[in-house]
Symmetry: C2
Subunit: 205 residues, 2 copies
DNA sequence: TTATATACAAACACGAATGTATGTATAGTT
DNA sequence: AACTATACATACATTCGTGTTTGTATATAA
């Protein structure tokens, strides 16, 4: 029962990625042997090595599957022409990010793996850059939006776009990390939309 | 040349912890074999197993060495009676945290290990709780401080202590994570004091 | 129709890491 | 002075994971 059709092969590829996500999330990346992942996917290591060069490549594939759509969704809100107030766009974009995070378990698992179940050394140190780049990009995007808000006199007087952008940048990053770090202790997730709203209210005129 | 004196034994214990920190930081916790750590410390695995039950216990010891003093220093600022404005105390406490982080490489290495070179599963999942607890405690502390500021009418009108506390909480966490995530890309570290000041200025009357 | 590349499974070879058990010289203790 | 616990070093056994190689049935292209 070998030599599947192309569609079937693509299907097993997806199943391997899904299994990897589950095993990574359960055991951490380092302790997730390819054999464990293969068995979780109902295949052997042969199949895994056929589709992916090694564990790192499998990890990257898993990550890319959820990262790109996430960026697309948040950017769609950020640049939604329906908002004539840039501050509303920023708020909507961040809110959308955490909404997806709360609603989609796959996304949540991948983020949790990347935040607290992966060691960024050697082959994986590039992951940190790949995560850092969108983070930097996000900073630049919202700085431009805040600049627009500033030009439109929508920012509270005395506030500089660069500074409030960095503040929002840190706030967002912290919120993301805290959702995973202190998840069981608090009902933080329920409060997130209110926190985002309060954060933005701080800088509205 | 065995059976050292008690002081010498304590010294090798410290050297093992220091070696562990270096190796953890270089290779990540998972890929740091006890043999590698032992050799970095100039001893054999026998010595490591004599002082520590396993890698996790060694990790905990390394962490505790820098965590407790850090908490003491930031709390000292937070509760410094010299500040009659609680907002100044909060600002000083956070500033102090990042000042120590910038100045002390040992502290920086340990935090970097904990943030991006350790997988929080199995034996290490308890670490996440131990880190989450002080984080929660910090939230409660600054919420009380903000409450005092509120009572003294030092908070900008319309702001609720609980909300600004959470905002500062997320901001601080994000700043910490971003210093390691985007370190090489930007000169972020230089800007941190200004960012903290701007963050606090947002909520001052 | 035949040939070939595909999509895996199965087997192999190797290193690396762990935990433990044992050896041993000496600092402390009585 | 003799004894014992200490502070390691050394050796052993075992497990686990990886990368590669080989085998093989079949989809697919010619």
């Amino acid at each position: 029962m070998v030599r599947k059709t192309k569609e079937e092969a693509e299907q097993t590829r997806k199943e391997i990625i899904e299994a990897a996500r589950n095993v990574f999330h359960e055991s951490g990346v380092s302790r997730s042997s390819l054999d464990k992942i293969a068995k979780a996917a109902g295949v052997t290591r042969g199949a895994v090595y056929w589709h992916f060069a090694d564990k790192a490549e499998l990890f990257f594939a898993m990550r890319e599957d959820v990262f790109a759509p996430m960026l697309a969704r948040t950017d769609a809100r950020l640049y939604d022409p329906a908002f004539d107030n840039p501050l509303d766009a920023i708020e909507a974009s961040i809110t959308e990010f955490f909404r997806v995070l709360a609603e989609c378990e796959v996304v949540r698992e991948v983020f949790e793996i990347m935040i607290s179940r992966c060691e960024y050394v050697d082959e994986f140190s590039s992951v940190q850059e790949e995560v850092g780049r969108p983070a930097l990009a996000f900073l630049e995007k919202i700085e431009r939006m805040y600049q627009q808000a500033f030009d439109k006199q929508l920012l509270r007087p005395g506030l500089l776009p660069a500074m409030v952008a960095r503040d929002t940048w840190a706030f967002t990053s912290g919120l993301l990390h805290l959702t995973f770090g202190c998840r069981k202790n608090t009902g933080l997730e329920q409060e997130i939309p209110a926190m985002i709203q309060a954060h933005m209210a701080l800088r509205r005129r």
